[in-house]
Amino acid sequence: MGGSRERISAWFAQGIGWANRGWHPYAIAIAYLALGTAMVYTSPRSLVGFLVFASSALLIYYIRLDKSAKLGLGILIALVLVPILGVRNIFYLETIFQISVFAALALGLNIVVGFAGLLDLGYVAFYAVGAYLWAIFGSQQLYLLEAIPGTANPDTPFFLPAGAFYLFIFLGVGLAALTGILLGLPVLRLRGDYLAIVTLGFGEVIRVLANNLDKPINLTNGPQGISPIQRPPLPQPLLDGLNAVLKPVVGHNISQGEFYNLFFYLAALAVILVVILVVHRLDDSNIGRAWTAIREDETAAIAMGVPLVRMKLAAFAAGASFAGAMGVLFAASRTFVSPESFSFMQSIGVLSMVILGGLGSIPGVIVGAAVVVILNLQVLQGLSLYLSELRQSDAVIPIINFAWKNLSTQLDPAKYQRMLFGLILILMMIYRPAGLIPAERRKRELRSENNVNLDDDNQASPSSHAEEAHNAG
């Protein structure tokens, strides 16, 4: 048993060694990427093709390539292949858009939870602040303050020109950061678990406010939500020009709606890039080190002169500001916001992405967002479709003699996201608290921890080891 296992792992290691030698990685990466692209291009609805394509990005990240080659392939995927393939099957563009939105949100939350170790259970509140900011100013709402919800005249002019969207991305950043600071000032002195509950409460407060601020003045239009919200203008000549280039590749004329999907995908990508740049620069800066110190041991951090409240506020504001930007983007892309989009479940969804990918790890968080969104949009919905097909068929489960027709229509896996998030959180905490792709710093810590344990004569207790491995946040 053990022998064969060793042989397999040796063979495996050899394989990886071969794959990472000389020109091999380049050939493998390009071939795999080409395969995925071809599969999605020829059969746009195949899930397998999509997964091969998505995993090629991961392969490129892991295989031993030149930094510039990796960057080049990444840019190729993000800016050329995804838009083309996405427009061929708009459903995948939606999936990828959602992945990029949630990746940006998760990266923002990662600053708060992963770097500074502050568990924020109301993160979507900041997202809601951004979304409602543009929803109120970018729609007719400000002319309807006195109107009863549902009675608005559709001919009411818009309050601001659509181009103000670009300005409002920055205003969203500012307002969300301000909200983060205002919330943070009183509560950041609290201990970790209390802070979690208070942020949860804050998230609910924002949701209840959005639900009820249709009176005394109709600011949010209550549970019905605000619609329509303007999108930034796309100049027609540009669309025509792009269509001339893309039409032969895509195979059909690209509609304005599809261009908007592309636009918002690229905008989300831009936010992700900014987050990554900021986070990367922060990680080894004074602030980043202060955050790590706070996360590992608050008391020691204070003793070392880390300005605790200021650093926590910085983390809170930084995380909130990205959510604010994504909120503005979200409101414009959907042209509709309602309080439902900002429930506690959304906060936990984003948290489960961060936990799944790995606290503090940028590639991990992006992969976590991708996995959760794909599970949500593809796997669970696929299962739902499959079950409803079974329900319409005459199939019967043999041994227990159960006709699929009798299956309750309530059994709709697409609606069981809570179970998915819950399982991710429990299983990751118990079996892999550092996440799928642990952060570099954490990896280094784990390695040195193991060495210490090997050298140590007085047998460190397993619990203390687990404690170190768990220093999740």
Binding site: L119, P186, M429
Partner: protein
């Protein structure tokens, strides 16, 4: 032979009863005076005009006439919160850990109790049952809810919390949030597979919906009615029983001594021959069972339940526990009563006092506002003592 009713027993039974009376009276009187003062100040304002138009009486009379009912409702809901808060407080006292899944344990209790009653109804046992047998069936439903909720609580502790006991404190909290979400959908899955829907409504039986009048005081042409629903009496009675029972268990029995010693110092307790794991499981069992009973009582009071029913009562009970001083049984009681009253006052008068600008929906925010204020200004709660932070 050991005397069953020694002085300590009697003291531990009488003390919480006395506390309940004091807390209910004190918070009732203080809040009533405040609201009446507010109503006096608002005389002649727009709110006053609106009340005269709608109800034919000025705002002060309106407030006074409704006050007894608001107080009774507040006390009822306060006791439900207190019963749930006991579960948070027990676990927090022993493990310093917020059992986020307690709200779902509560929901499980509610579902099992309601399903049992629905089953009894379909078996024809409930229709035409005499009041006495209706009470017995209710007690049976509560017991079943307690058993189910207690066992799930133990199961959750062993599978999701025990492996993480020595991890940093946020790790088990995240796991508990996961358990909470998982259980919500698990209830929903089981309910929708077996019954085709996931909302359940408690059957009407016995005389629980009847009101009996305590008094009717004539006042300026109208009557101030003091009446109470039978089910509210049951909720209050059962909650008091649980509070007294738990207080007795923790403060006057050997088991309670073991629980307190584990709460104080796990390592030393285990050196004294206490099986720490067993005590922790027992804590979850007791907290879960109390939560389950509270769930059935909640269903009795509010009739309709769904898998997400636990979220708001859970958060509010947690607020109540923090308000009173988490880890402290008396504190949970005080916090529950104060919060329940505040919330009912807000729900009943906010709409009238603000001329409809802010409705009763804002009472859900109120709990969070109180939670934030308490945590900022007095994190140890009303009755808690200042404790150092454990790393």
């Amino acid at each position: 032979m050991r005397r069953v009713f020694n002085s300590q027993t009697i003291r531990e039974i009488l003390r919480p009863l006395g506390q309940i009376v004091v807390f209910v009276t004190a918070s009732g009187v203080v809040l009533s005076l405040l609201i009446l003062l507010l109503a006096l100040l608002l005389r002649g304002s727009a709110a006053d005009q609106a009340t005269i138009e709608r109800n034919g009486m000025d705002i002060f009379t309106y407030t006074l006439v409704n006050l007894p009912q608001v107080l009774i409702d507040g006390v009822t809901i306060g006791f439900v919160y207190a019963a749930i808060a006991l579960g948070y407080t027990m676990v927090y006292g022993v493990l310093e850990f917020i059992n986020f899944a307690h709200s779902e344990i509560f929901a499980i209790g509610a579902f099992v109790g309601v399903e049992a009653l629905i089953f009894l109804e379909s078996a024809g046992m409930l229709s035409g049952a005499s009041n006495l047998s209706a009470y017995l069936w209710l007690i049976l439903a509560i017991l079943l809810g307690m058993i189910a909720a207690g066992s799930v609580a133990i199961l959750v502790e062993m599978s999701a919390y025990r492996p993480l006991r020595h991890a940093p404190r946020l790790v088990p909290l995240i796991s508990a949030i996961g358990v909470s979400f998982f259980l919500q959908d698990a209830i929903r899955l089981i309910e929708s597979l077996t019954t085709g829907q996931f909302h359940r409504i408690i059957p009407t039986f016995g005389n629980f919906d009847e009101r009996f009048s305590l008094a009717s005081i004539p006042y300026l042409g109208t009557n101030i009615n003091l009446d109470i629903q039978v089910k509210s009496v049951w909720v209050i009675f059962a909650a008091i029983l649980m509070l007294v029972g738990l207080n007795y268990l923790v403060n006057a029995t050997k088991l309670g001594k073991a629980i307190r010693s584990v709460a104080q110092d796990q390592a030393t307790a285990s050196l004294m021959g206490i099986n720490v794991n067993r005590i922790i499981s027992l804590t979850f069992l007791i907290g879960g069972a109390l939560g389950g009973a509270a769930g059935v009582l909640y269903a009795l009071k509010f009739t309709r339940i769904d898998p997400f029913v636990g979220f708001f009562p859970g958060i509010k009970a947690f607020t109540a526990a923090v308000l009173g001083g988490i880890g402290n049984i008396t504190g949970a009681l005080l916090g529950g009563i104060v919060l329940g009253m505040l919330e009912t006052f807000a729900g009943s008068y906010l709409n009238v006092f603000t001329v409809g600008a802010f409705g009763a929906e804002y009472k859900d925010i109120l709990a969070f506002g109180i939670l934030i204020l308490v945590l900022i200004f007095r994190p140890s709660g009303l009755l808690g003592e200042q404790v150092g932070q454990k790393a």
